[in-house]
Amino acid sequence: MTTLLEVNEIQTYIGQYHILQGVSFQVRKGEVTVLLGRNGAGKTTSLRSIMGLNPISDGQITYNGKDISKLATYHIANRGIGFVPEDQGIFGELTVEENMKIAMQKQDEETLARMDKILTLFPDLKTYWKKQGGYLSGGQKQMLSIARAYLNKNELLLIDEPSKGLAPIVVEKVMESIMEMKDETTIVLVEQNFRMALGVGDTYYIIDDGRSVGTGNMKELAENEELKRKYLGIA
């Protein structure tokens, strides 16, 4: 399988804090790559650095064989990377419809077909189509955010902790939707919920203290008690 995204030894500062001190990982086309690690390890910053929201000071990010590390965020997005941020980034005073409309880059057949698929996948969005985003429940916000990223023909989705703060039954729903999208899209997932990560992930990378410290097949990690205890705090 070909590599879609390659993150190579990136360094990121936020203010005077050296958050990423050498994160590297490779994302293979068609896979779900999961970034694991403790709170504050640098997972969110890694995604934000790929999007250009926290620009890197050193290292390289290659997407589809091209260096995107110096590009502006909107260029990166337009190259086909969709982003679902940690706080979902819903525009609270815009309706669900308007939130989708703003994300829609083209109004061709394909996009409309994807819109239909989204609405079957997340019927809630249809129900609350005219409701302001700010009044949605946490799970609905998450679905809207994922839907927004999925609406355009993005080759890669970066999804940051979709299970955060959601009830188990909603987590199931979100997991299902990710499995559904997996067929046509490559996904990088930051996830604290190990069960969910195990459910959808193919490859894992562990990030600790701003560095990549381990990688492998997700199924193998499930059996590697030592790694799990050391970096993830689970046994």
Binding site: M51, L53, A72, T73, Y74, A77, N78, F83, P85, G89, F91, G92, E93, L94, E98, K101, I102, A103, Q105, G134, R148, N152
Partner: protein, 286 residues
């Protein structure tokens, strides 16, 4: 009765002018997090250029177009060369836009001379209508009409077009707008240019209304616009209309009854809002 109505029309007309100035200020602040202290300078430039064009061509409508164009151009230059280089640094922005304000008003004196310039409405807008007991001065009604049209237009664009959606979304979350593939810098520039054009329009409309224009008028009106922005809620377009009407009306009535206190009353209003509802009377939730 006659007096009250006249004061009201007067207040609404002044309010509309302040609105044209404050609307741009509030939109720019909401979207770009930039409080443009030079905004009043654009207002004054609109007035001077408009009056100049009026004098050259004799057509007031051409003068309005000229003023709006002046606003667009100055807005572009300001955004590109003054605001962009210090983007993200609040203190620098605040400092630099005040400096620009100074340069803009001094430049007016260099280009158009240091003295006041007289302006009068065109014939078809001069005089008044007599409706029974009530006298309505045409030019004031014209200002109110233009203000309403501009408000409706901008409001429609904000509500119903993709660019309007983008602006509203940008007010809430700039990062996400960019992550959805939109070049927010272009949106910034557009909003800045539109805001400046509105300010310049306000300026040229003021000229025949007050009869004279002078270089410091920008700052005088900018202070009223700031008060409006605070009362209406920073970044709140609709709020700025209501607040501008409030300030315009209170100004008109105060000027008639207790002229010395009119600015003080507006300041007091602002102080009360700052204490009770710092997000503004019409401020959004959260």
């Amino acid at each position: 009765m006659d007096l009250l109505l006249n004061l009201m029309v007067n207040g609404l007309a002044t309010g509309m002018l302040i609105f044209l100035l404050a609307a741009g200020l509030t939109l720019i602040f909401g979207l770009m997090d930039v409080l443009n202290f030079a905004h009043g300078g654009l207002f004054a430039w609109g007035a001077y250029c408009g009056v100049w064009v009026y004098g050259m061509t004799g057509s007031f409508m051409t003068a309005i177009v000229g003023a709006v164009l002046t606003g667009v151009i100055l807005g572009y230059v300001t955004e590109r060369f003054i605001i962009q280089p210090v983007y993200g640094n609040h203190v620098q922005q605040i400092l630099i836009t005040l400096g620009l304000m100074l340069v803009l008003s001094e430049m007016l004196k260099v280009v158009f001379g240091p003295n006041q310039i007289v302006a009068a409405p065109p014939d078809y807008l001069a005089g008044s209508w007599q409706l029974g007991d009530v006298v309505i001065i045409k030019y004031r009604a014209f200002i109110i009409l233009v203000g309403v049209i501009v408000f409706a237009l901008v409001h429609y664009v904000l509500k119903n077009t993709k660019i309007g959606l983008t602006v509203r979304a940008g007010v809430m979350n700039k990062e996400m707008v960019q992550a959805l593939g939109i070049n927010i810098k272009k949106v910034f520039m557009l909003v800045f240019m539109i805001g400046s054009a509105m300010a310049a329009l306000g300026g040229v409309l003021l000229a025949p209304y007050s009869g004279v224009i002078y270089a410091e008028m920008g700052m005088d009106f900018a202070i009223l616009a700031f008060i409006v922005v605070v009362i209406g809620g920073m970044g709140n377009f609709v709020g700025s209309l209501f607040a501008a009407m409030l300030i315009g009306l209170s100004g008109a009535f105060m000027t008639y009854f207790v002229p010395d206190l009119s600015l003080a009353v507006n300041m007091l209003l602002m102080a009360v809002v700052l204490v009770v509802r710092p997000q503004g009377l019409f401020g959004a939730k959260g």
